[in-house]
């Protein structure tokens, strides 16, 4: 049992940390990411890819610590993992090179978070499909060349690659609280060839779910980074800030609060690693994958909310100012907590994937620890 990072992993962590500590606000990051090889994380070796969920975790944690605003999760992890699992090597190659960018449009107005709740239809018309429906909260669509859209083909769900500038695909961007690019997309009879199918007809949900789990794990890592920075900033601040003749960090009430925040960060660290390791070690077991990733998101949401709220509280008035950084971390944490499924959604998903039998003696190794003893 070994939690140490390999030299290659340490290299990734350090190079991302350096980037994140620099001045990256508002810059066009994609060419840089392509050059640094970060678009290739999680892609297959033969496309110049390397690493997997752990490397993604290392990158996202540093992005969280540095509050790096980028389409990485939506365009590399979510879209990339769909293309990888669907074996669309030519598209994945362009993603890795940075020459084509992909966003994923799956959510619909009638159901929060649920990838199976799809009314958008893809009706067969000769060799083509005609797409009709509405997608909401599409992440990072405005910098994408291609949208991966989920739609109903009969009773099942299929995925289609739709050019972002397709006529009859209307995008409406809106501002988000954390500076991210979010849009609603209306499809009014968008025509796509059968060649634009991603994965088999009717096989879209499994591809989407798997990729969503990868992206959720990435968000857990980002949350970890956000939280650990907020804790550090809070501890540092309370050591400096003096009132009543002493640093406020000497007051026991605040010390205890920070001790509690520390515990939450450690739990969040554990679940971020747990999620990544579940993805790596139980890639062939969708139920275990769902259970591990959903458990991680639930914990991360709880820990993140606690740390975020208390970080602001312990900073007092300046925690509320737009000028000071903690508020910005808190806002991103608030969004991350709910992106791709909030705690409520993931608790239900965890319960459903846990089945009737429950946590007892691990018959398998620790990552499978939530398995049933009876099995």
């Amino acid at each position: 049992m070994d939690f140490t990072l390999s030299p290659e992993q340490l290299l990734i962590k350090d190079s991302v940390a350096r980037f994140a500590a620099g001045d990256h606000a508002g810059t066009e990051k994609w060419p840089q990411f392509a050059e640094l090889g970060w678009l290739a994380i999680g892609a297959p070796d033969d496309l110049g890819g390397f690493g997997g969920p752990i490397e993604t975790l290392l990158l996202m944690e540093q992005f969280g610590r540095g509050l790096v605003t980028s389409p990485y999760v939506a365009q590399v992890v979510l879209a990339g993992q769909i293309l990888r699992a669907a074996d669309r090597t030519e598209l994945l190659e362009r993603l890795v090179e940075g020459t084509e960018r992909f966003a994923v449009a799956y959510e619909e107005p009638q159901a929060r978070y649920d990838p199976a709740a799809v009314k958008t239809s893809a009706v067969r018309d000769g060799d083509a499909y005609v797409l009709r429906g509405t997608k909401v909260r599409v992440l990072d669509a405005s910098t994408a060349n291609t949208l991966i859209v989920s739609a109903r083909t009969g009773d099942e769900i299929s995925l289609f690659a739709v050019p972002a500038d397709a006529p009859s695909a209307t995008r409406e961007n809106y501002a988000s609280e954390d500076g991210y690019d979010v849009a609603n997309v209306r499809l009014d009879g968008v025509r796509v060839d059968a060649a634009q199918l991603i994965g088999p007809v009717g096989g879209g949900l499994a591809l989407l779910e798997r990729a969503l789990d990868h992206a959720t794990a990435a968000l857990c890592a980002e949350g970890l980074g956000l939280m650990s920075l907020m804790l550090e900033a809070t501890v540092e601040y309370t050591k400096q800030r003096r009132q009543f003749g002493v640093p406020i960090g000497s007051f026991q009430a605040l010390q205890h609060r920070m001790a509690e925040m520390f515990i939450e960060v450690e739990l969040a660290r554990s679940v971020a690693y747990m999620a990544a390791m579940t993805l790596e070690e139980q890639a062939g077991d969708p139920v275990a994958r769902r259970r591990g990733v959903s458990a991680a998101k639930v914990q991360m949401a709880k820990s993140g909310r606690f740390v975020g709220q208390n970080a602001i509280q312990l900073h007092g008035g300046i925690g509320m100012s737009e000028e000071y950084k903690v508020g910005h971390y808190f806002k991103r944490m608030t969004m991350v907590e709910r992106l791709l499924g909030d705690a409520q959604y993931h608790v239900a998903r965890y319960i459903a994937s846990r089945g009737a039998a429950v946590t007892a003696a691990p018959d398998r190794d620790p990552v499978g620890a939530s398995g049933s003893r009876a099995s």
């Binding site: 049992m1 450690e266 969040a268 679940v271 914990q299 009737a356 946590t359």
Partner: protein
């Protein structure tokens, strides 16, 4: 980065699991499963069985009969004990006074006490807390006055688990009333049969009498029973605190609590999605804590000394234990099943003992966050 146990560790786990399944007396297993209190003889029997297998002194150096297990093996062993519904042996002899005698005692003491601690012939209890000294243990007032070849001990110790079964008590007593708090304390072994030692049970809110007050009135103790140097007893006490951390979080026990809870719900056909959700939340936190424990273990295995991170395990572990006892009561409601309410009442102790959770937070704040 690799979460898997090594093949050797997995083989060890299978060996322990097998042994417990075949050697744990059925009546003891039933008591643990039912949540009933164990009798002294239950502990003695099980200890004898483990002793004969050579598995009793997990934290002792090999030269004194220790098992030679590393942190991962110890962890596996205690997990299997919980999963197999076996009792955890009382720690006072095996895991508290013995390591101190080994580290700070002399050969005569090691020869006299270690064998009967190991085979369970003699039971021990811990004489630390006093009515006026709980979290502030160093303010203890029990006095040990040197008189020729003896100490004369006077004072009251309290909250002592299993004093009613104990043959011996290890006592922190003040040998120099003029020294600064910690610097006048000595670690002394007292035979419970010595005239002047009186045990009074304390009934707790769960109806049990697992703890006691021990009064020491003019108790004459030979100077040979001093462990280590006079006035250096606090060093022994600190050593003890840092020494045996395995199982601090009580994770395996919590898993058993969870299993029992789920069985209860199934048996009573309780269909309550909101309760299920609350249970799932606690289960998830438990897995997060279990993973945190593994991270700590891996670091210890790689040579890192156990440190203040154990405070995380203690705080969260006890919170989860309490939450599970609460959920069990919520599942069935009041007056429903005989042991659920007492268990909930009894578990209020977990956030208080072994260093209250507030003290643990002080430790995290001072030693980890450096506030």
């Amino acid at each position: 980065m690799d979460l898997a146990f090594s093949p050797e560790d997995r083989a060890f786990r299978d060996e322990v699991r097998d042994f417990i399944a075949t050697h744990l007396p059925a009546d003891i297993r039933r008591k643990i499963q039912a949540g009933d209190h164990l009798a002294k003889d239950d502990y003695a029997r099980w200890q004898r069985i483990l002793f004969e297998r050579g598995w009793v002194a997990s934290g002792w150096p090999k030269e004194y009969g220790g098992t030679g297990w590393g942190p991962i093996q110890r962890h596996i062993f205690y997990e299997e004990i919980a999963f197999g519904w076996a009792p955890r042996l009382l720690p006072f002899g095996l895991h508290m006074v013995a390591p101190v005698i080994i580290e700070f005692g002399n050969d005569a003491q090691r020869a006299r006490y270690l064998p009967t601690i190991a085979n369970g012939e003699e039971f021990w209890c811990q004489g630390y807390s006093e009515p006026g000294a709980g979290s502030d243990l160093a303010s203890l007032a029990t006095r040990a006055e040197r008189q020729g070849e003896n100490y004369l001990i006077n004072g009251t110790k309290t909250w002592i688990t299993a004093a009613q079964w104990a043959d011996w008590i290890f006592v922190l007593a003040r040998t120099d009333p003029n020294a600064k708090k910690q610097e006048g304390i000595s670690f002394i072994l007292v035979d419970m049969k010595t005239p002047g030692v009186t045990v009074r049970p304390i009934e707790t809110i769960d109806g049990g009498k697992e703890i006691n007050e021990v009064h020491l009135e003019n108790v004459v103790v030979p100077v040979e029973n001093l462990v280590g140097k006079e006035n250096e007893g606090w060093t022994c006490a600190k050593f003890l605190l840092e020494h045996e951390r395995t199982g601090t979080a009580g994770i395996a026990g919590c898993r058993q609590q969870l299993e029992t809870l789920h069985e209860l719900i199934a048996r009573e056909s309780i269909d309550d999605p909101r309760l299920e959700e609350r249970i799932a939340q606690v289960e998830i936190e438990l897995e997060a804590l279990a993973f945190t424990e593994l991270r700590t273990l891996a670091a210890e295995s790689a040579g890192k000394r156990p440190g203040p991170e154990s405070s995380i395990l203690k705080i969260k572990g006890t919170e989860i234990q309490q939450a599970l006892s609460e959920l069990a009561l919520d599942a069935l409601g009041p007056y429903a099943e005989s042991h659920l309410a007492p268990k909930y009442f009894n578990f209020r102790k977990t956030s208080i003992y072994a260093g209250s959770n507030e003290i643990q937070k002080n430790i995290i704040a001072k030693r980890i966050l450096k506030l």
